[in-house]
Amino acid sequence: MCLAIPAQVIELVDIEHAVVDMGGVRKTISTVLVDDLQIGDYVIVHVGYALNRLDPEEAAETLRLIAEFSEVANHEIPG
């Protein structure tokens, strides 16, 4: 199946590769599809390629919308 998962960049190997951390698992991936990656960035990884950079503001907005629709009283939005 098409599984793309978030991972955090922990090392820039060269202009086309980076080491990422996926919940404790470290893996070298290709970064040819994403420009200007920095250490600490979150990327969406699929079959060994970073597809795009995860936008923290967009993620927060999505979580805010889910919380808004969800009928949970005083639920704190995870940051």
Binding site: M1, L3, G23, Y42, S70, E71
Partner: protein, 151 residues
Amino acid sequence: MKYLDEFRDDRLAQGLAARIRREIEPERRYALMEFCGGHTHAICRHGIEDLLPAEVRLIHGPGCPVCVLPSGRLQAAIDLVERERVILCSYGDLLRVPGAQGDTLLKTKARGADVRMCGWCTRSAMRWRSPAPSPTITSCSSPSASRAGVP
């Protein structure tokens, strides 16, 4: 892990389910189709159908050839590569898909079986075929490939 755990919050999910139940118009029927097998797996694994009211029907769509590989066939591939001296070539996506007993080709590889990821089975198999005394090379592919005579 950040950006995974926040999206798997069961309180939020229960809240969403409650909201959906409240919004349902009893005289209406709602049919939704997901088209990706990854979504079907997620829906089944997380019990989404049981969270939804009876008026909402989820129709499991076609899925790509990796997704619709019968789990029994995948289990047969796992059994084969564990028991026999074979190199098993597969598209990478399939390595994480669970077989009939919940096992995956990736776990099988971790246990020592010769499972290799490739983008194009035939070319990779040809490259690996020589010059070493070759074990049987087989590939785990889609039902359509099976019909075309690929083992």
